[in-house]
Amino acid sequence: MNLTTPLGDEVLDLRAGDTVTLSGTIYTARDEAHLRMMEEGIPFDPEGAAVYHCGPVVQDGRLVVAGPTTSARMNRLSGFLIDAGVRALVGKGGMGPEVVEQLRGRGVYLALTGGCAALAAARMTLKGVYFEDLGMAEAVWVIEADHLPLTVGIDAHGGDLFRAVREKAKTQFHQRFNTKQDTVS
């Protein structure tokens, strides 16, 4: 399924584990950009927007590499975006239970393969920037995406693929090593 921004209720039909591609305008934001947006407001139209957790390398107005950063750092910083109408968060590694609840009935978390910075940049065109004073990694870059390959990590119904995998891994570990303890003494 190909998603195109601005996103609407079609994201509510997605299920954790689904494959999608994402096209259209997306906005990068890391820790500092989230804090700035909370203070000064969101500089783009958040209705149906996709926010990409990414600190790209930009040279001469061109994206050199633009892979995803660890989304969990934004666990406590994302609620206001979803409240404002953002429908998709894109990053790597998944997000915490508070975000799973915030996305319920409203939006999705989409996982892009970690480390795939050249692949991501090959499917993106740089369109503009907000908060450039935050520096290259932390500014909000406006990007036109062309079929970014993504996996639905968290759906709008509480489904969380990362949590399911973690729980299975824990069960496997305790079975194999016949223990209930979490750490070696």
Partner: protein
């Protein structure tokens, strides 16, 4: 031919070799790592995991084609020198490596990652007090090996001072390291395991183990690898057969009352390259 220790050309030649090694490492994965990723992609049964591995392989091809870094976390380099008998062990070696890291940071370009540990002030050129770490061993030729390493995997690495009676628990300690790490280190990972030595030596051995080729594992390494892959964490923590591409072990003698075990976690982008210094 004896090299004059005051000769600035040695330092310059070393800087040049370090820069070339970093360029090679950052844009192109070593053939053994690439082969391991391809093998894993062919064997993987999970559909999502196969897609993640496909993205990784496509990314590697694109980075090489466009001559850009494989990942935007270009890491901080650990540097290993081999020193032939006719090259004196002087500060010029360390100065040359440092200069090479600075040149590579500007030229490739690399993300400036090195900061003061407390003030967090960024040096802007990937060097700092004691950084890059340079390790010197005797050798036949003067070579520079770089191992630039990102923080996502480094941050979930672990060391344990096990009891001498706990040798049988090493597989559990290694698997537990990945259970705690989950998708954070960008699996599929390569695990470098240092067993024995002292507290510091076990960690150094674990890192050195990441320099070993990943296309072979002995029975013990295979046992550790199987224990990790049984967890089913899969590429990026999305589930699947491929959590670790390989586990490599280095050992050293240790105190009869100790059993240090260190696990250095490496993301799939196991970037390393060796360049001989032109003299």
């Amino acid at each position: 031919m004896m090299v004059n220790p005051a000769d600035p050309t040695l330092s310059d030649a070393l800087a040049d070799a370090t820069e070339r090694a970093l360029l090679e490492a950052e844009i192109r994965l070593p053939p053994d790592v690439l082969a391991a990723l391809r093998g894993a992609a062919a064997a993987e049964r999970d559909e999502i995991a196969r897609r993640e591995l496909g993205n990784i392989l496509e990314n590697i091809a694109l980075a090489e084609e466009r001559r850009v870094p494989i990942c935007q976390d270009t890491g901080v380099p650990a540097v290993y020198l081999t020193l032939p008998p006719d090259v004196p062990f002087t500060p010029a070696l360390f100065e040359g490596v440092r200069e090479g890291v600075q040149r590579a940071t500007a030229a490739i370009p690399l993300r400036p990652n090195v900061v003061d540990p407390l003030t967090r002030e960024n040096s802007g050129d990937n060097t700092g007090v004691g950084m890059p770490a340079v390790h010197v061993t005797p050798g036949e030729r003067l070579t520079v090996t770089v191992l630039p390493k990102g923080a996502g995997s480094e941050n979930v690495s672990r060391i344990g001072m096990l009891l001498p009676s706990q040798a049988g628990e090493i597989p559990r300690f290694v698997a537990e390291t990945m259970l705690l790490a989950g998708g954070k280190p960008c699996p599929p990972v390569i695990l470098g395991v240092g067993i024995g030595g002292t507290f510091d030596m076990a960690a150094a051995l674990a890192k050195e183990a990441l320099l070993l080729p990943v296309d072979t594992m002995d029975d013990y390494e295979q046992e550790l690898c199987d224990a990790v892959n049984a967890l089913g964490i899969g590429p990026m923590g999305l589930g699947g057969d491929t959590t670790a591409l390989a586990v490599k072990v280095k050992r050293a003698g240790c105190h009869t009352a100790s059993l240090p075990v260190a696990v250095n976690v490496q993301c799939w982008a196991c970037r390393r390259a060796t360049v001989e210094v032109k003299r």
